[in-house]
Amino acid sequence: MDGLSARQMTASAIPAESATLLDLHADMSLSARQGLALADVALGSRLWRLAWTLGWLDIKLRYRGSLLGPFWLTMSTGVMVGALGLLYAGLFHTNLHDYLPYLSLSLVLWAFLGAVVSESCATFTEAEAIIRSVRMPFFLFSLRIVIRNVLVLAHNILVIIVVFALLSTWPGWHMVLALPGILLWLLDALALSLLLGSFCARFRDIQPIVNSVMQIAFFMTPVIWKPEQAGGHFVLLQPNPFFDLLQVVRAPLLGQSPGTVTWLAAALYSVGLCAIAWLFFARARGRVAFWL
């Protein structure tokens, strides 16, 4: 076989993954299901390198062959912030110097929130080919969604930096207070992708509903407008989970404190989301492959 045998000897030296044990019962108890869901999360976390590669390749593929690559994201966000800034500063009769940092931060953060929510719906459906050909922890695909969007956010942060630098705005050391908020976001994003990912695999008409909810939420949440501009009306718009969650990251970055009530509300929403996501995922995990 034309000198191939030597090659094939090296080939046989590549072992498959270390020995595994698969032990699946039907009609499992709730705790058994939770155990499997927990194992799924643990195994998925161990594959972080794969999740990182998948997330990064997703972005690279979107922009492969283009001159600026992922920096198109930065460009389009920059143009959007500039245009909306000029327009709304005029409409709201506010000072551009005050408004532009607020707007750039809000738009970039909302872009992350919106993309995470809407892409969560496709967490498992977009990975259908893989899920149906090899047993993989489902949490891997959640990590991929979150990593992908964190990378997009990282490109958009450049816009904020440029705006802040041009207007020589410096939020001060309050900025550090955004860190716990960011951690909360990452946790929520993972929970949401497990929840919406499995829910949308079962019910295919959820995605459009989610998209329209997010569109309404964009206008009802103080993203392009400030809460004080709505006057007394804003109270009527509460409770709005998006507002509290946005505030725990945005306020510190603007050099303000979100306040205890906002923090408590954001934490409460997150606990609720994680609990629902966990219960649903533990129940649906074994069925997702059948729904695809």
Partner: protein
């Protein structure tokens, strides 16, 4: 769980797998909410059409076993392989598989045509939980076997169909598991490639402790397998030595194997 260390094994006990058919828009939330609102949810659930892909399957395999799955299209062969691979979890019964598994179920497994050959190789390595050095070796092995040369850094989309087959095959056969689950696509290849491919495949088969193979090709079953399951509409119709089950399945005595075919099974 104590016997987990005593080598690879497969134990399937009373396993059934069925697929709910969400035909038309039965999959929609709207329909379910209306059904719930009008109190028809229970009835709806009972009327849900399910395809019973596997019904009450039991068997066990130990190191050295080579199992062939035969049966007509839709008999449940691929579903059984997917169940053994842990992709489908049983609706009833118990599945227990100890050992590293490589399931060659779908020629495109995780292959993304927009990525380059090299990126696809790296992804496959990562899917298999390989460390960096092992991925480098996987890359060398696959590139040299598939003979893609300069194409390896170009997107798979522009490959000729022969090149895609070679890459898919090289990837599939590069990783040597203890338990090998094979669907028949792997046995179909392009003619010039077949000799080399066959050699490589046989080496992988020989290296595996347990083989489960689904095929229509009776000479493959007779040369490679030591036991055959005949699946019919998701049930085991016959289970035994290859020649015996094949004769029942085909309904006539088997012809002697051509001399060229040597036994691969050890």
């Amino acid at each position: 769980m104590a016997e987990a260390t005593s080598g690879p094994s497969i134990g399937i006990d009373g396993v059934s797998v069925s697929f709910p058919l969400y035909h038309g828009n039965a999959r929609s939330l709207k329909k379910m909410m209306f059904a719930a609102a009008s109190g028809r949810l229970g009835q709806d659930r009972k009327q849900r059409v399910v395809v019973e892909a596997l019904r009450n399957i039991s068997f066990s395999l130990r190191g050295g076993d080579r199992l062939g799955l035969i049966g007509s299209n839709g008999a449940g062969k691929t579903t059984l392989l997917r169940t053994l691979a842990g992709i489908y979890e049983p609706v009833t019964g118990h599945v227990r598989v100890a050992g590293s598994i490589n399931a060659l179920l779908d020629p495109g497994l995780g292959m993304n045509v927009d990525l380059t050959g090299r990126e696809n190789i790296m992804l496959r390595g990562l899917y298999n939980g390989m460390p960096r050095e092992a991925i480098a070796r996987l890359e060398d092995d696959v590139i040299s076997f598939a003979g893609l040369n300069d194409f390896i850094d170009l997107p798979v989309r522009i490959y000729s169909s022969g090149m895609v087959v070679r890459l898919g095959f090289a990837l599939a056969t590069a990783i040597r598991p203890q338990i090998l689950l094979m669907d028949e696509w792997i046995l179909a290849g392009d003619a010039a490639f077949l000799d080399r491919a066959r050699h490589r495949l046989e080496e992988m088969v020989r290296g595996a402790d347990i083989l489960v193979l689904s095929t229509h090709d009776q000479s493959i079953v007779r040369t490679w397998c030591s036991r055959v399951l005949w699946l019919d509409q998701g049930r085991i119709r016959a289970d035994g030595p290859p020649d015996e089950v094949l004769e029942q399945y085909l309904g006539h005595p088997l012809e002697p194997l051509p001399a060229a075919a040597e036994r691969v099974a050890v």
